[in-house]
Symmetry: C2
Subunit: 204 residues, 2 copies
DNA sequence: AATAAAACAGAACATCGTTCATAAAGTCAA
DNA sequence: TTGACTTTATGAACGATGTTCTGTTTTATT
């Protein structure tokens, strides 16, 4: 068959991304497969490769959406009536909540690694940075007296810490059932955010 | 060719594991490939499959060694002349050091996930538990007054946190160069181990 | 209508994990 | 030593996968 034109280029691309998204949600990142997705959207494999240079970039497109959804989820946890510290805590817990309720998609974001590091889309890098900056700014607001370098370190330690807890818990590597994910996260957060003693970090 | 018998079953198995280990160290977990390893050890592909049910189990054998090496590295950081808190800190830093200097092997341990979760070798589970228990006991020694449940939470939060910092930093997802991995880890540790104020964790 | 360009299909190729029938070499009793 | 049996090793072959490529059909252009 030749040219059909019953769908826009953009429509097919959209359908492919959604099909891939569904695959990941159901069977994880391993469930994605060019032929399967092509069949799902009613087009041939070759057509898929005119929309995405390779499967990695399709996965990346899905992951970009996951990152955006994650950002929305974290943003929604913020509330201007709360203190910066409380907001910070809510954001961290929102991250945990997202990972817990969108596990395969969330895992895909971090499990997937490109063969060629160079063709990582700009938009993807930016999206990750945007989410992180959001957190960093909230942290800065929570500790206005802390110098920038220290804020940078604290934010990374806390955020990566939360990430690690989700990562190990959800892949069953912390010798624990998933019920305690929240408890562990609370434990970590408590060390960083203490409403009373706003300890200023002195570098060693 | 038929039976050769110039190597023991165990010798070939050993050679395969070492070849796979080298592959991972050089090209990461994606570099492993049945034909390549078979050629490396001078045997055919079929022979490999008489020693390992599948490639996953070969990778697992390599990862088991990595876990053992990691345990040794963490153990070596302990020193009976130091306080439990100092030992705890040294162990965490040893983990970071190991991840930093054995990045591909370390990443392989956590990136790899079995298709069939059921055939995870007992020894592998036990090795992971052994390492974690080591940390937990040291933590308990550092905070003798803390109740068991709290120790459990604190240890998991700290250890998973350290893991997350390594994971994100080494996969370049923290918007930072690797130089600051240690600084970030120190920041996290400082929140858990404060020689002065041994804050007792009250559950909320 | 003729030509060019774009869209699409699906066969084809390379690479991978895995299986399998077969051959060679060893073992051991008669 | 011979012959039957077992063990070990092979590599061709199968199926699944990512990716490429050629050809065909449709649309756009002149």
């Amino acid at each position: 068959m030749g040219r059909r034109n019953d769908h826009t280029r953009e429509e097919i691309r959209e359908a492919a991304i959604q099909a891939a998204q569904l695959c990941i949600q159901q069977d994880g990142i391993q469930g994605i497969n060019a032929r399967h997705i092509a069949q799902d959207i009613g087009y041939a494999v070759g057509t898929l490769y005119q929309l995405f240079k390779n499967m990695d970039l399709l996965i990346l497109a899905v992951n970009l959406r996951t990152l955006k959804a994650l950002e929305q989820h974290v943003l929604a946890a913020c509330n201007s009536t709360l203190s910066a510290q409380e907001n910070m805590q809510q954001m961290a817990l929102a991250y945990v909540d997202f990972a817990l309720h969108n596990t395969p998609s969330w895992q895909a974001v971090f499990a997937h690694q490109l063969k060629d590091e160079q063709d990582m889309p700009q938009a993807y890098q930016e999206q990750r940075l945007r989410l992180f900056t959001l957190v960093e700014q909230q942290f800065k607001a929570a500790f206005p007296d802390m110098d920038a370098q220290q804020v940078s370190l604290e934010t990374r330690a806390l955020w990566a810490g939360i990430h690690g807890i989700c990562s190990l818990t959800l892949s069953h590597k912390l010798h624990d059932n998933e019920m305690t994910l929240n408890d562990i996260a609370h434990t970590l957060i408590a060390h960083f955010l203490q409403p009373e003693s706003n300890q200023q970090g002195e570098k060693s």
